[in-house]
Symmetry: C2
Subunit: 375 residues, 2 copies
């Protein structure tokens, strides 16, 4: 199954994106871009191959040349039906032939090329072999912001995905927690995301009690008990664009300490949100959220970065992390998700997707950030 | 969601596999192996990270050294719970640090390393940067047969996956075809595969009428009609091991030509199966099947290779293709799946998974290969 429904864009939209990418490559001193199946290819062409295999599929973009998509012959009919197919030409290769030689014929024999982060190593090695005079750099290292700034149509899709995630939270807070396993609540989350229009569910974290102290715990067989804090973090793709939100709920009445830590994280999230301004560096968002938690003496328990970009994937640049000096630009979308993780005890994380506007940040998630009590 | 249930192996099983892999690397003149998340890592350690991200996870295997798994700190607790964790040590790295430098400290500064085919290009570039004296080769190119020969426990799991796919076919032949869309029948196939124990469905091809002439068509909105040939090709993972079988059914009575083409493909499949013998080259299987189709004048309509290996993935080496001289070894498992594709009209494909025994081939799919008539 090929997975997600494509977003509603035309060949002209994809042509404009490919032009923009080629220009950005030239501005960055690159001879071209080599784009493998995955989010870059989806964003540039709307195309996802029937399966990710060892067979080379590669979009070749170079300034001043028409885009060419190298595809296995067997998959050429699929590629020809891609929404962006009208904006590129196909070059197919047959099983048993060398796809790298076919690609090399499209490239300069020297120069530096950006290649999709997630291109397969075997394909990069194949290209390095046939074009020893070329060098390569990861597309995210060379052009980290290529997909980061969303246009109006993309922002509408991001907002719709966020609203669907919020509708999911409004329903999940009504289901019983105590006495059920994390996996059962996680299945509810997945069902709700799909019911509210998601075609792909990427994660449904239900981290109860001590499991909440592992920020990457997904779901397990633990039976949720009265008195547990439960971190909920869920998202996926709706009409090709991502959602990702976290709320930490409590089963029954919290202790004073639990309430204090939850308030602290909520204040940190608010501080991170308020740091979102055009021109501010990404790291300022991290610093603002972290400063609140550090001032309260919990700095050592905030063990991850404050946020990550989101778009045609649920996890991409820009990153809200110390050292990231990229200025925020209107149209960027990313998470603001500080957390506190107390080993063996509990964790709290609160996360909204935020987009940058001329005036500051706009939240794409708007459910209650106060602690919600569940049954 | 992390997907598939792990296969029932112990840390000792994984230790033995890692030892075998390190020895195979040394025999191939390699300084070591760099194993990324995916089928190689699952087979060697049982570990799949919570998500495939830009964060480096890499198993470093070198002859004479203990295996080390480099993991992001956030995911170290997940890695520590992997079934093979007892047979390796973890080295974690924190967001913001350079994971390539951490990996480099584990490697010789020179030498040739095998790297997983599907390792991300950005990680290979990172490793090439910190260790310019090293070179890399794709793991499949260096050690194509690393996972190809299955042991007795693996063969039992392969046989069980095949039996589940066969049970799926026995049920799907009873459902109505005429008047329903390909997608509806495809959803039935997916449901049946899960009902019979699959944890992951990789593909459910329902290619009716002219769609059957595209060997990679999955499912579409076409309403199946009386008189259609319908290619069914489905599989996935059950208990960590793959299934993949194809049968071509007919809705109502076939024409003489349809019956003749189906008979031809069945004979070609039988010829390919009979060519399976220890020591025979993979290409002999392709040649045997192809010769039957060519002799009947349909050679130009058999547009793909005859088969592919299967194991912890549904698609891997060895390939049954002209030019592949790899000798067959008892324990190898692969598909034998010739087809004839008549553009704009219909297609036929018949596929069994076959394992090599001392005496020849053994089919892991045993449903009727004669044309089945459906309603």
């Amino acid at each position: 199954m090929t997975g997600t429904a494509p977003a509603p864009f035309t060949a002209d939209d994809y042509r404009a994106r490919m032009d923009r990418a080629a220009r950005a490559a030239a501005d960055a001193g690159l001879a071209g871009l080599l784009v493998a199946p995955g989010p870059d290819l989806v964003w540039l062409t709307g195309y996802t191959p029937p399966a990710a295999t060892e067979r080379l599929t590669l979009l070749v973009l170079a300034p001043g040349r028409a885009p060419v998509l190298v595809v296995p012959t067997l998959e050429a009919p699929d590629a020809a039906r891609a929404p962006g197919a009208g904006a590129l030409s196909l070059r197919d290769w047959t099983d048993g032939k060398d796809p790298y030689a076919a690609t090399a014929a499209l490239l300069d024999v020297s120069g530096r090329f950006g290649i999709s982060d997630n291109a397969w190593a075997m394909h990069l090695l194949g290209l390095q072999r046939v074009l020893p005079g070329t060098s390569h750099v990861s597309l995210t290292e060379a052009l980290p912001m290529l997909r980061a700034v969303k246009d109006a149509a993309e922002l509408d899709l991001m907002a719709a995905a966020g609203a669907a995630a919020d509708a999911t939270f409004e329903e999940i807070r009504k289901v019983p927690f105590a006495g059920r396993t994390e996996s059962e609540v996680g299945a509810d989350l997945a069902g709700l995301l799909r019911r509210f229009g998601h075609s792909q569910v990427d994660f449904t974290i239900v981290a109860s009690g001590p499991n909440g102290a592992n920020p990457h715990h997904e779901v397990g067989d633990r039976v949720i008990e009265r008195g547990d804090m439960v971190v909920l973090d869920f998202g996926g793709l709706k009409d090709g664009y991502g959602s990702d939100t976290s709320r930490t709920v409590h089963v029954g009445e919290p202790t004073d300490e639990e309430r204090r830590v939850h308030d602290l994280v909520r204040e940190a999230q608010e501080a991170g949100f308020r740091a979102v301004q055009p021109g501010a560096a990404c790291q300022e968002v991290d610093r603002a959220a972290r400063a609140v938690i550090e001032a309260a003496g919990y700095g050592e328990y905030f063990i991850h970065r404050t946020g990550h970009g989101i778009g045609v994937t649920t996890h991409e640049p820009p990153y809200m992390i110390e050292g990231e000096r990229q200025p925020l630009v209107p149209g960027m979308c990313f998470s603001v998700e500080p957390g506190v993780y107390l080993p063996g005890r509990f964790g709290v994380r609160i996360e909204d997707i935020v987009t940058v506007t001329e005036d500051g940040g706009r939240r794409l998630n708007t459910t209650d950030r106060e602690m919600v009590i569940v049954d």
